[in-house]
Symmetry: C2
């Protein structure tokens, strides 16, 4: 599941930092992860997403216009089913952090 | 450069989300990255760090007690030298986002 660097507007906006350690169970994981990315991108207030997994540690950061957009995505029926599968099957542990992005800077591609 | 999931205190605290795309240039990168992790862990106000790279996209999230701790780490002499090498040698592009973690929840290891 590859993502490119997210291009986001000027702060403030919000980030959901999801860090996880997978279990060996694979059933349905990849298809659901791909579907959730696709679905997230279609949500109102979605600004971008970045994801990487290495040596079992996964980090997915999604960016949102406001807390209402995050709440609506969390409550989305299909996403709720995926969350349940995540808890029951796919993840050994995870943490979800909701954060307000206050400022940003960077190096442009060259 | 492997990190484990970070165990952080109750919010609020701060996160620095560093996402990057590397250039082919490798000279000094791994040694410096390892040293920066070691050095960051020793800074006052450091709470944890998580890092993963996949298909060229790297995500490192470090957690800090407050903005002063982040400013002090950004200004650390050895870190400033590493930042310069990053801009000049190692990174094709990157974004640094400073965010205030408002809330967190998760699934405990089982």
């Amino acid at each position: 599941m590859t993502t490119a660097p997210a291009v986001t507007p000027e702060p403030p906006y919000f980030a959901v930092i999801f860090t996880s350690v997978r279990r060996p169970e694979e059933a349905g994981y990849e298809a659901t992860a791909t579907r959730m990315l696709e679905l997230a991108r279609a949500q109102p207030g979605f600004l971008g997403v970045e994801s990487a997994r290495e040596d079992g540690l996964g980090i997915t950061v999604s960016y949102w216009r406001d807390l209402d957009a995050i709440a609506a995505w969390k409550a989305h029926t299909e996403h709720r089913a995926a969350q349940a599968s995540g808890r029951e099957l796919w993840y050994h542990r995870y943490t979800v952090r909701v954060a307000r992005v206050e400022r940003a800077h960077g190096l442009e591609a060259r």
